[in-house]
């Protein structure tokens, strides 16, 4: 059982704490057919980010997610992009220009997005290592600018391991 360590973190503007309800199922493939299942990512923090190419704030936010990936190692925070109901052509053309280092899962009929009930697009859910919803980002933002990287580092910090001779 992982320990949820984020209770003391100060929640930055635009993020809303959630009640810790289990995250809905998410099993989708990317454009190459590789399947990702959220259940397989237990034990680490995951950001599930819903987006679409037609959504203005999504277009603005996407490059900042690419920058965030460089600031936080995947082992600390795995970012899962989920494109809502668009085609490979639309997504490929967009990501290739705006955030070529990022990959996205494809919710081709939009039904997974519907199950997650985001408040709009874009929406980012922060899922803790136990698979529970801990935070929801309201609308878009620059994830690579403080206070967001500091907040994400804080909540994803691994539990301290006490070595021999150290106080418990």
């Amino acid at each position: 059982m992982c320990v949820f360590t984020a209770t003391a973190a100060e929640v930055p503007p635009g993020l809303m704490a959630r009640d810790g309800a289990p995250a809905p199922a998410l099993r989708l493939s990317n454009m190459e057919g590789k399947v990702t299942d959220l259940r397989d990512l237990r034990g680490q923090w995951v950001m599930v980010h819903f987006w679409a190419t037609w959504c203005g704030p999504c277009r603005k936010e996407m490059p900042t997610l690419q920058s965030l990936v460089k600031l936080l190692p995947t082992q600390r925070l795995r970012i899962l992009l989920v494109n809502t109901a668009e085609t490979d052509d639309e997504v490929f053309a967009f990501l290739g220009l705006v955030a070529p280092d990022l990959d996205t899962l494809m919710d081709r009929d939009g039904k997974v997005t519907e199950q997650w009930q985001p408040r709009g697009l874009p929406s980012s859910f922060l899922i803790d290592p136990d698979g529970r919803q801990r935070y929801l980002a309201l609308g878009g933002r620059d994830w690579a600018t403080q206070p967001y990287p500091a907040f994400l580092r804080q909540i994803t910090q691994p539990p301290a391991v006490n070595g021999p001779g150290r106080a418990p």
């Binding site: 635009g14 959504c55 809502t84 109901a85 668009e86 009929d109 939009g110 408040r119 709009g120 609308g139």
Partner: protein, 197 residues
């Protein structure tokens, strides 16, 4: 210069010109915007061609474009800087024609019936849904929201009277924002889409 104009007349003319220049330098008055009580609301009508082009670009089939081309789309965006919750509930909003008569908003139920009848593809139904304003949302401080509402096109200018409950239990003071002089544009005359598959 202008010897035919008396000195006084020339001065008055220069004053008038200066006023015109100053007016031109002023930023245009905000149109289609309500701002007050910690809330900013924008509303902008879209032409049928704009909307058909948008959804065509998303790969919508001609059958779905047909009803889209016959309604009035109003793109609404808002953000509030209040400390409490503001409730977005378009079903409580009023759309009024020049005589004060209520206009019919076409909500999600309407569109769901239309798409169901024509067995519209799930992906396009989802996209259309995400481009509409939510039917109910407890907007948190600073939370932005945007999307379309649709209505039967009125013949003349109309007014959006947006009512917002406030507070977590909706018992706070109500906010009413009015945006007048909205005009829906004529029905699309683009025939090219009729030949689309």
């Amino acid at each position: 210069m202008m010897p035919w104009l008396p000195q006084v007349g020339r001065v008055m003319l220069l004053m008038c010109l200066a006023t015109v220049v100053r007016a031109a330098e002023q930023p245009p008055a905000a149109r289609n915007v309500y701002s007050g009580q910690g809330l900013v609301l924008h509303a902008q009508t879209r032409t049928p061609d704009q909307m058909v082009a948008f959804y065509t670009g998303r790969g919508f089939p001609a059958a779905m474009l047909e009803p889209i081309s016959h309604v009035c789309f109003l793109t609404v965006s808002m953000r509030h800087t209040r400390q409490d919750v503001v409730w977005l509930e378009p079903s409580r909003w009023r759309l009024l024609d020049a005589e004060g008569n209520s206009l019919n908003r076409l909500g999600r139920d309407f569109w769901n019936r239309v798409w169901e009848t024509m067995q519209a593809p799930a992906a396009h139904r989802a996209t259309f849904g995400w481009t509409q304003l939510p039917e109910s949302r407890d907007l948190q401080p600073g939370e932005p929201v945007g999307g379309n509402i649709t209505l039967v096109p009125p013949t003349g200018a109309f007014t959006l009277e947006a009512h917002f409950a406030t507070g977590p239990d909706k018992k706070g003071p109500e906010i009413v924002g009015r945006i007048e002089g909205l005009i829906c544009h004529a029905q699309s005359t683009d025939k090219t889409r009729e030949s689309e598959p």
